[in-house]
Amino acid sequence: MTILPVILWSDVLIWLLVVAALVLAALSARNPPLRTAWHRVGRSAPGMAAATVLLAFVLVGLLDSVHYRPRLASRDSGAPAAYAIEVLSLLDALASPLRTRNEKTYSEPLATHGYAKESIETRDADGRLQIARDFPRLKYGGAHLDADARDLAAQRDADVGRRVLAATSLAALLSGLLVLGCASLLASRNACSLMTAWRALRRGETDFAWRSVLVTLGVLLLLLSPLAALSVDYHVFGTDKVGQDIFYQVLKSIRTALVIGLVTTLVTLPLAIVLGLVAGYFRGWVDDLIQYLYTTLSSIPGVLLIAAAVLMMQVVIDNHPQWFATAAERADLRLLALCFILGLTSWTGLCRLLRGETLKLRELEYIQAAQAFGVADLRLIVRHILPNLMHLVIIALVMDFSSLVLAEAVLSYVGIGVDPSMISFGTMINNARMELAREPMVWWSLAAAFVFMFALVLAANLLADAVRDAFDPRMAGAS
């Protein structure tokens, strides 16, 4: 065995979430109102386009959630197996050229030379040292190009053009095949001719918003395949201060954002659902107590509460170094702690909403009747009240995601975000902010972080809109 699998806590939770999503899907399929609501989501073109983009992000995140420690190369074969302290993920393995090809310092996107002039020592024919100031050639960026050529820039441009052309044509071909596949699938399912299916697809008349999914997929392919083709030999988004590839950092940030956005709900939901239902259903002193709890919590300014709690977790982590075999585990626990704290501070809103709805529901006749028949409270809550509140929960879940991702960036700025050794959009922005002041300006890391974060949050927001429109009974009438 050449690797040592490492299971980080956040990995466990992420995969647990995947399972939970599957279970939710199964449950939704059996519950008619939820099923129709999901169908409505499926019909929404922007919603499905957003879902496609999100799925791509989630895929990257999941690849980045399988961790292992590579075995250390050992010179004598008798030595016991030892594993590197560095924890890698599947994504790292796939993107290992991105991860390992570090330049010395900044370089522009697709550059072949460094960003700042350097003194370069060369030896003359007669052996004297010559010092010249010039842009140094990058170690890896465009290294396959003929180094001695005078017109390196032109050569680079040609090479880039060639690669982009090849990649886009491949992507176009692939998208064409996808469309064809989809059309034939539709044709066979609806038992109509391929032509009719294609027409329906083209006009967006299908029951599921296939058109927008396919268009989004096509656009994604067209954008991503040149990136992939170029990233092998160039730094597509440039490199940062220590010469690390920005594209790689962006990819790594995705998982952090997803964990923050999703795992937090694992804390929020149980708290909000249980306390909200209990308060609304039992009323009396239980209600008073829970109301007191959430009023108190929500009256503390959020940032202060988070700051204090994060600092506290930090102390706990620092005092127990023996818990962590690797730095990755440490950073991971801090990330989870952050999720936990964000969850603790954000359950109050949903709880209040659920309490209110429960208060209304329990006055309904059939619930009153069931109570009169002596149906157990727990059973009543789980069977009759909870399903009627599911739409609120689902809406809250999708709505929270984007705000949490955005909050991470702000918290990292204040210095109470993720572990500094963990790559996230927040840490990227925080580092890149300074680079804007450089002369000449280093803009690419901020731009890359901006584009990817924007895409993620925008997709999440659009999906959230679609879900809300589909689930909210009030919205169903309004639009």
Binding site: P46, Y292, T295, T296, L297, S298, S299, I300, P301, V303, L304, L305, A307, A308, A309, L311, M312, Q314, V315, S402, L406, A409, V410, Y413, V414, G415, I416, F425, I429, R433, L436, L446, F450, M453, F454, V457, L458, A460, N461, L462, D465, R474, M475, G477, A478, S479
Partner: protein
């Protein structure tokens, strides 16, 4: 009404006590009084005696929660917790760890905070309501669709980018306003204009979209249909009926944040170098100044509760049918 207010205020007391306990517990798990002393006394040449002296002088040499050596009520009152929080209820916040009077500091920082927060709030409300009204007016048209898309796009951008981008363009490239700083009095306008503009723009997305749905709900109501049937022009209907009625949920929803405006904005105050309460809070967190953090949490909670009460009152003012139980 008066009785209700009184009850609300009484109810606030246990909440404030709870808030205090939570902050206290959180903070002292992180920071022992020893840490605080070290932080204040600096790094170089700190002796254990100096730390003990510092603690004794500031009253941190007592037990944190329960003093088992004291007699009678002293068990609870002769502790750091009691000594440090009891006086806050009468408005005495004590001194920051650097010896400066907190109440005075807060009073002097409130102005700059409000100078940013208040215009942001008012102009923001105005802009977003007009935009939402515009979208509602052109509902179900391409304008509406792209307007909503724009709103979603605007709210998908992190607040940090607005500030970084705004500063870069307006102050650095175009040199229209000073990049940061603050001046008291009328001179403040040139410092305030950019943070306010950025605050307004960054808030447009979510609020305009939210108000738009409120307007749409209102438009779907029967009385609007009747008014339209009477032959009133669309504009009249919109301004005279829809706007007026929709303002009720908008304003009552907004009232709760008004008192919190005093707290200032953490981000823009630090980026623009405005000496308000937001940057005070950030400084205090960084400097681990417990006295200030505690005071800010206390004030924040009080303002939040005031906001809740104001919301209730605004409901009755707007809708006489709502009565206080």
């Amino acid at each position: 009404m008066l009785a209700y207010l009184l009850r609300r205020l009484l109810y606030a007391i246990p909440i404030l006590i709870g808030v205090n306990l939570i902050t206290f517990a959180l903070f002292f798990v992180v920071n022992t009084p020893d840490d605080m002393a070290r932080m204040q006394l600096g790094v170089k040449r700190v002796t254990p005696e100096a730390i003990e002296k510092w603690k004794a002088e500031r009253g941190y040499d007592k037990p944190l929660f329960i003093n088992s050596q004291a007699q009678g009520t002293g068990v609870f009152t002769d502790t750091v917790l009691f000594a440090k929080s009891a006086r806050m209820f009468v408005g005495d916040f004590g001194r920051a760890e650097d010896g400066r009077d907190i109440a005075r500091e807060i009073a002097s920082r409130m102005g700059p905070s409000l100078a940013i927060a208040l215009p942001t709030f008012i102009i923001g409300l105005f802009v977003t309501v007009s935009l939402a009204l515009l979208l509602a007016f052109f509902r179900a048209s391409a304008l509406d669709f792209w307007g909503v898309v724009l709103c979603v796009a605007l709210m998908s951008i992190s607040g940090l980018f607005y500030i970084i981008g705004g500063q870069y363009l307006v102050s650095k490239l175009w040199r229209l306003v000073p990049i940061s700083g603050y001046a008291a009095g009328l001179d403040a306008w040139k410092f305030v204009i950019l943070p306010v503009a950025i605050g307004v723009v960054s808030g447009i997305g979510s609020s305009a979209r939210w108000y738009r749905t409120i307007f749409l709900e209102e438009i779907a109501k029967d009385y609007v249909r009747t008014a339209r049937a009477k032959g009133l022009s669309e504009l009249t209907v919109l301004f005279r009926h829809v706007l007026r009625n929709a303002m009720i949920p908008i304003l009552t929803g907004v009232v709760v944040v008004i008192p919190l405006l005093f707290m200032g904005s953490l981000l823009s105050e630090s980026f623009f170098g405005i000496p308000g309460l937001g940057s005070y809070t950030i400084d205090a967190i960084n400097a681990q100044d417990f006295a200030v953090v505690r005071a800010m949490v206390f004030i924040g909670s009080v303002l939040y509760i005031v906001g809740l009460v104001l919301t209730d009152i605004s409901y009755t003012l707007v809708d006489p049918r709502v009565r206080f139980e």
